[in-house]
Amino acid sequence: MDFAVQFIINVLSLGGAYALMALGLVLVYGILKLVNFAYGELIMVAGYTLHLVGGSPLPWLVMAAVAVVMAMVAGLATDYVAFRPVRAKSVTAVLITSFAFSTLLQNAALLFISPRPRSVPLPEIFSQSVMIAGTPTPMRDIITIAAAVLLLGLFAFLMQKTVLGIAMRAAATNFTMARMLGVPANLIISSAFAISGLLAGVVGILWIGRIGTVAPAIGLEPLLIAFIACVIGGMRSLQGAVLGGFLLAFIDTTLNYTLSQDLLKFRDAFTFSLVILILLWRPDGLMKGPATGQRT
């Protein structure tokens, strides 16, 4: 029983974080049919912002909000610097500019801050635990689950009920038709980058909250996780990204629990093998989106 509760909480908190990461990536991909390789750096930006405002007397929640806003600004900057100037030209160009922007941000962190990990301020609650069904459970897992539920709910509301969300879904299916109905391309793309930044910012704080420090390469793992979750779930489907995130978390957690100590360091090899199996079974991912897959 204790084991089951612990397992479920682990899967849900890890899965919540993975799902938010994947959603931020797939949102932009759905509309532009281009992967934003600078996505991980949005998490890095949130981390360093938290580090930099750490010395101030502001309440922690305000600091966290500033970090999330900075991640959104970095998301918008990605659009303006890496995507907009070359968007219409070629896929290869955007691939390279988004890598370049990612490297630029990482190197800025190396140069102006430090190559070594820096601590970020975290409230007491991140290191406390509560007893749930007789199992000591870290509060940060509960916070992660709560944040994921809240953000996924908000996101679902946005995409289902608001005109902006409906327009974004339409743009992901058929951008030209959406534009012929008066939906402005630049606004939709910028909104996608801003929301992507918001998700990255929140998930960045939760992610960094696990280790307590931020380093220039912190974004690499989340980018990889998000990418794999999207590939499993289906690159064209928002629900797929969420499903992929939770499934990946389930696989990772199961391996954590079952692999022996010697094998645990090869966990990623096991995870990727399973991912390959899933893709052999469903090459387009688990969920098929409505998208035509056409780039505009």
């Binding site: 879904r169 339409a170 058929n174 012929m180 109905l181």
Partner: protein, 235 residues
């Protein structure tokens, strides 16, 4: 209202539209006839701003809109229903209509009125309000995209092959609706392969052949002077 001069469209090496000139006056219903590949749809998409014209000009009430993007064309009053229909399959009928009114979304009251009007005009859509667009039949999808285009309160409607692939009974319904819209003084540029039906509702017609205007005149003149069956075959 709309004045197209010497329009050219190229797809790589293919020169699809070769100097098409046409005009549509206020309240007029003009039809663009021609065989498959005559350049009808390319002309429409170039006017709508969805593809780039490689030459020529598109004037709207004397304003040069040649290089305007599709959203600017819509805001200027040009609504387009492309041949591919392009219902958003995962959005509900209601949400598809909401998008049609995107440019005037802040005017909630009149958008709500128009939505009610569309449901009056197309009772089938009212029954399927909450259904995903992709689950509708071909005829219902055609009605939905026309209703969606009307939600923007366009000054001119570009209608590309509305009867394509539909059952004869539905085709009659669609043409009846086009006649109704004309009676309401909406300006329409209608592309059709079904030349006979199009000429019955149109004021004037242009015949395209291999990307060029091969003839133009009143609907009656064109009906009398053109071998309508040959239009299908590209003769």
């Amino acid at each position: 209202m709309i004045d197209v001069k010497d329009l050219h469209v190229r797809y790589g090496a293919v020169h699809a539209v070769r100097g098409v000139s046409l005009s549509v006056a206020d309240g007029e219903l003009v039809t663009l006839l021609g065989a498959n590949g005559a350049g009808k749809s390319s002309s429409i998409l170039a006017i709508a701003g969805a593809i780039k014209a490689s030459g020529g000009s598109v004037m709207l009430d004397g304003r040069d809109m040649t290089s305007a993007n599709p959203e600017a064309m819509l805001r200027a009053g040009v609504a387009t229903v492309p041949e591919t229909r392009d219902v958003f399959p995962d959005l509900t009928v209601d949400q598809n209509l909401t998008l049609g009114a995107y440019a005037r979304r802040r005017d909630r009251k009149s958008v709500a009125e128009d939505r009610a009007r569309m449901f009056d005009m197309f009772p089938r859509l009212a029954e399927r309000r909450e259904q995903a667009g992709g689950t509708l039949s071909g005829g219902e999808q055609q009605m939905l995209v026309i209703a969606r285009a009307l939600m923007s309160r366009p000054r001119i409607l570009l209608l590309d092959e509305p009867s394509l692939g539909l059952a004869p009974a539905i085709v009659d319904q669609i043409f009846q609706m086009i006649a109704d819209l004309k009676a309401q003084k909406l300006t329409i540029l209608l592309v059709e392969q079904n030349a006979r039906k199009a000429l019955q509702v149109a004021d004037r017609a242009y015949v395209l052949r291999l990307g060029e205007v091969a003839g133009s005149g009143t609907a009656r003149e064109i009906a009398a002077s053109t071998d309508l069956d040959a239009l299908y075959l590209g003769g």
